[in-house]
Symmetry: none
């Protein structure tokens, strides 16, 4: 039996090239020059993830055989007895993606070829267009359309937020205010406008971002039916997922759900009961490529498509992992995409490229992406964004209550 290649180091790289704190895991091996990279980004609690990797996963993993990806995933998951949650899952994801990257490099094959090869040429993506008025949203959407985008997600006015509210403002807790009813009304108007403006060839999407009560979300999904959304995203908070049964009885608007999921019990009932149309988990937050590939297969059995979460707080490594899944999954739907700044392509050579509405993967071994660590070090993370979180995470209802972000 050949001597196995083993893990010699598990390193955490923290960097914020676009001002968003990212967590990258680099696994080094007993084979000189062979290493793998994974995304472990839980931007809101990145220091917790770093602790999980440095103090717990690293000593657990040193010396282990890099080929045993499944076994490492399973044993890492139960090693803390309590499992799941965004912090632990992200830490495990960083390791898991890095091990798949290593497997691809050992094979001399892209990870998508380890997973059955390309089932399509490229991944169609959507971008996010917002604005304060319907015309501003339209203008921003048109910019994407001119670039070749076929799918555009539209949002107006920061979820109905207002700068100040409540009748006795001095008694109010600090924060942004959010009016769910105003938001729902405005959103219907927005899509009436947008569908008229861009015609039928462009797919329109919308993200509720868990801002509505269950019945308001049901009502919105029904009121949006005439505008033929490609999908309605995160219409309910994860605490409310059983309400999708009600939504399903009332509306044929396609439902995409999952960026906040961290636990299989959140998605399994939705899938087995065919209550959603697109699964859109944040793959590092469910634990990496290993569980995401299984989840794609689970969804395929139920004819549910994938639309993995892909905002700016997924690192380029994570975006590459998304893309490898997209290309190799029969039941791929669409991919969320952000607008990487130039620094991204410099710091992460091999970051996938958007061309005419589609993102293409390169054919390098592994995930096909690298990191310039020296450059990364010039963009240190800054935890003060957690100390002073953006107002949308502390939004309140007009009466001063807490509004879920």
């Amino acid at each position: 039996m050949t001597k196995p290649i083993t893990i010699t180091d598990v390193r955490t790289i923290l960097t914020a090239p676009e001002g968003i704190n990212l967590v990258i895991v680099k696994i080094e091996t007993s084979e000189p020059g062979l290493y793998g990279l994974g995304c472990a980004t839980f931007t809101q609690r990145y220091l917790m993830v770093a602790t999980a990797i440095e103090d717990y996963l690293k000593p657990f993993l040193i010396g282990k055989d890099v080929s045993r990806i499944e076994d490492i995933w399973q044993t890492s998951m139960v090693n803390s007895y309590w499992r799941n949650g965004p912090a632990l899952n992200n830490a495990i994801s960083g390791v898991d993606m890095a091990l798949w990257d290593i497997a691809g490099k050992r094979a001399g094959m892209p990870v998508y070829d380890l997973m059955g090869g390309k089932a399509r040429e490229a991944a169609a993506v959507y971008r996010h267009a917002d604005g304060r008025t319907v015309n501003e949203v339209e203008d921003n959407a048109r910019k994407f359309i001119e670039q070749g985008l076929l799918y555009v997600r539209c949002q107006m006015g920061g979820y109905g937020g207002r700068l100040h509210d409540i009748r006795s403002p001095e008694g109010a807790l600090p924060g942004a205010y959010f009016d769910p009813q105003a938001y729902a009304r405005d959103t219907v108007k927005l899509f009436e406008h947008m569908r008229g403006a861009v015609g039928n060839e462009i797919e329109l999407l919308h993200d509720v971002h868990e801002r509505l009560t269950p019945i308001d979300a049901v009502r919105l999904s029904k009121n949006l039916e005439p505008y033929r959304l490609f999908f309605l995203e995160d219409a309910l908070a994860p605490e409310n997922v059983d309400w999708f049964k009600v939504m399903r009885q009332q509306s044929a608007t396609p439902i995409a759900m999952g960026e906040l999921f961290t636990n299989p019990q959140e998605w399994l009932p939705l899938i087995e009961n065919r209550l959603i149309d697109f699964i859109r988990c944040h793959i590092s937050t469910i634990g990496g490529l290993t569980p995401a590939k299984k989840l794609a297969h689970l969804c395929e059995a139920f004819s549910i498509r994938t639309a993995w979460h892909g905002p700016g707080d997924v690192s380029p490594i994570g975006h590459a992992a998304n893309l490898h899944l997209d290309l190799s999954s029969y039941n791929f739907g669409v991919q969320e995409w952000w607008g990487p700044q130039d620094i991204i392509y410099e710091m992460f050579p091999g970051t996938p490229v958007l061309t005419n509405g589609y993102v293409y993967a390169n054919d390098k071994p592994g995930l096909g992406i690298d990191i310039d660590e020296k450059l990364a070090a010039k963009f240190p993370c800054d935890n003060t964004q957690s100390v002073r979180p953006p107002s949308w995470t502390t939004a309140r209802t007009p009466d001063g209550g807490s509004a879920r972000p």
Copy 2:
């Protein structure tokens, strides 16, 4: 309007008086001498919890009104956008319990009196008796019975584990080996013996500790019916909870579940479908007293009783919180209890006391418990237990696969 009392500091105290790493949160306030204590113990990943508190919750909470317990819980939970999981929930629990402690102290009342007052005098508890043979288990159980215990949980032979297995051990991965079938057979024999030995007046319990495949757990619950268990605990891993439907069709053995739960989607379907008889979450791991009191209320609506998790990796503060819930909940069932060493009563004055099978609360304001920080500092935590985890967390099946702990 009176000027509110605000949070001035959130401190994390790490201590291991019994060799188990504990995490305590101490909240200091703008009122001189007024502080609260909470349990945030996720012993397997205590440094992650400490990071969550120090780097994230503390800056978020400084200056907030201590009376707003509900609002602080809700906003803390969504402040990281992704929520739940054992690390984040424990951090929030530390704060939450401390705020209830403060509320009680401000009121000059025990927390149980803020929660509706004593619905009983004391909480009946169970202790854990194990051994390598049925006679050893019997001997250990008898010691508890002689101390007045009415409920004894019995376990033999470390879940059927063997020190070495697989026929070609040189090919095996390191770790302890576990034989689920041997364990299930032995457990039936154990309870046949125990019921004969101790008669019917003593309640016997058993903890599967998620060691069985679903159908083996169903079969065990059925085979144990003749021995009239008070309950069968953690018969299924949290990944398998939907299998309680199958168990329910086949067996009338009462089912207790929940120590590993971290997400409402794990418990809600079990409760609304009446698939369990006792909820036994680890209350710091679901986020503290605030969610635990709500969970007790939810269970009462479905006539399910409480049996909160209470092993040695719940700090004495956490045990006190359990007890305040036990006493004030109409639907209390039984309380797990560990055997505190003397150092515990020294370091945590006010730790509840076991007398003749029941644990009693004192009538001091708040949670009625304090910490001697100087003494705590003499028992520093040691992270090497994570680096070299106890063998039961890395158990393997006889073929070298991973066995869920």
Copy 3:
């Protein structure tokens, strides 16, 4: 972009080294010396499979990129518009396994390493012990136990068959006779004997082979409970799978099902409703490694284990494919194994080896198995076994009716 490696030939090899007609697919590629092997054995209709491959799949596949395994599977499946069924699925399986073999060879890695690596050291297997009396069965079982087997499947008297039956035999249709009631009674006696004879350390299994009416199968599963089967296999014919709901309400005997399945609608409801404990499809008959890996993942989400069909009419290539799945699947249960004659190891170098109750894989690239085509040609297939099928496939009930085999 690198020029892809393409399929240059798809060849069908028919051979019967043990007297059982086997179908092997060999895919040759544009890279000199690079080829793959797959199992396409539907022994009862092997000429149909050969036609499917030679006349349909081969022209469809020539020139296609060998890396596009998923796409080739999906497009092959719908290329005939009507899909599924044992003949078409086996043909596609031959291609699919061969493409995974090629992928592993290109990577220089065993197929199990493309699928996440070993999640265990080896696969525990069961063998089949039969006999005309309980003592004969015991003797045959003991031979296996002495060889180190931990799992033995027991069967007595050819499913209760009798040489002749019916009151007016001259009016009966020709064939073997089968008495379901006698079979069920004898089987309970057999396991009462066997459990007493071999004790508890050996796992006993039983295969009903779809010989019972639904309620008789339910009754048998209940009557066998005291003997603690590891599982009861194919208790119901595929036409009756909805009756597992009834069985589940009555018995905790673990249920294994699937060797006759050819269509996802046969297994999906059983899995999503947790009505079985082991999935044991014949992986070539569901279409190869691609659907089998997805099915393993689907089952993992529902905590159902795998026990892939592994009799003598799976070719050694198919047995190797089973083993690669077994080793890389977290939710592996047990593997059926046959007793290969020496000719098998000569004709198929790399055939997995049974040692002390476990089957081990080698670490060669791909499936790790080859075929000596010249030797194979010396054991030509013989279709007369179809013309004169073994009596068990034409069994009849005592009244002359057709009894499902």
Copy 4:
């Protein structure tokens, strides 16, 4: 006891009078001049069916009593152990229909009279009108209406297909491209136009041909409600049939399903849960008249009507069999009909005749149809259509993925 009439030969006749490969089975008997004809047409894999008949069914059946239709069906089905699938079922169908034809001839009665006699005078049929524009479809529909047709199925633009797509075509896999969203939008417009053009007296139907994702099919069925379809056909692929639950909650458009079904588990849940309104299996592909008559009876119990598949790749023998079922079934709905060329009536004397919207059966014994074998031999089958399948079977989505045909 009379000496039974036995099967002396089972012959396969392959012919392509309209350019579509047909498979006919001719059973010859021990009674001179007595023979029967059946349809076994799986046009896409006709050589597999021929192999199944020649090499397997024929030797199994020679010498068997022609009166034992039920027994022959059951034993043929399990004779290969694995059963079902389009190839095996068609082979068995050829035999089964031929035996019914023989039974009718022996009785001197049409098959419909063996099945309870005419429950109606004739079968109303629908024909398929397509076109590139709404006006072209209208023109083609009007031609049918002028011929007396009361039911017309409408289709525009080849399911939204485009000749070329994806922005970088050089990277694309070869094949036609299909845009599900464009197709769905255009279809709503088509029926808005058609209902306006032809008024309410004509029944309009539509065939989705499994081209849509589940939620898009739900949405289409809902959007088509205002145009009062007689039924919506094959709205979901057979892999997705559980999604009819979702469709049922949202839309009252009548649902017809089944041409791709080959396995009872595909139709049984739809029927027992009343999720469809018309069963429209391809009767040779489910195994012939024996299972189709049972399926009609099952549907009658649930008030579901029949609409058997009847395109050009059903042979005239198969069309005759459809008609005998139509006439004798209480729960007949409508019959799909193709436009036979003159050669059909020459080669298959007795082929049913369309008159003023209804197809009429003759009153000859058996199926009432014959074949001119000499003429048939002049139209040999050509397998190159399998080698170069029509583009619709290899359709792709705009991103280069596989689109189900």
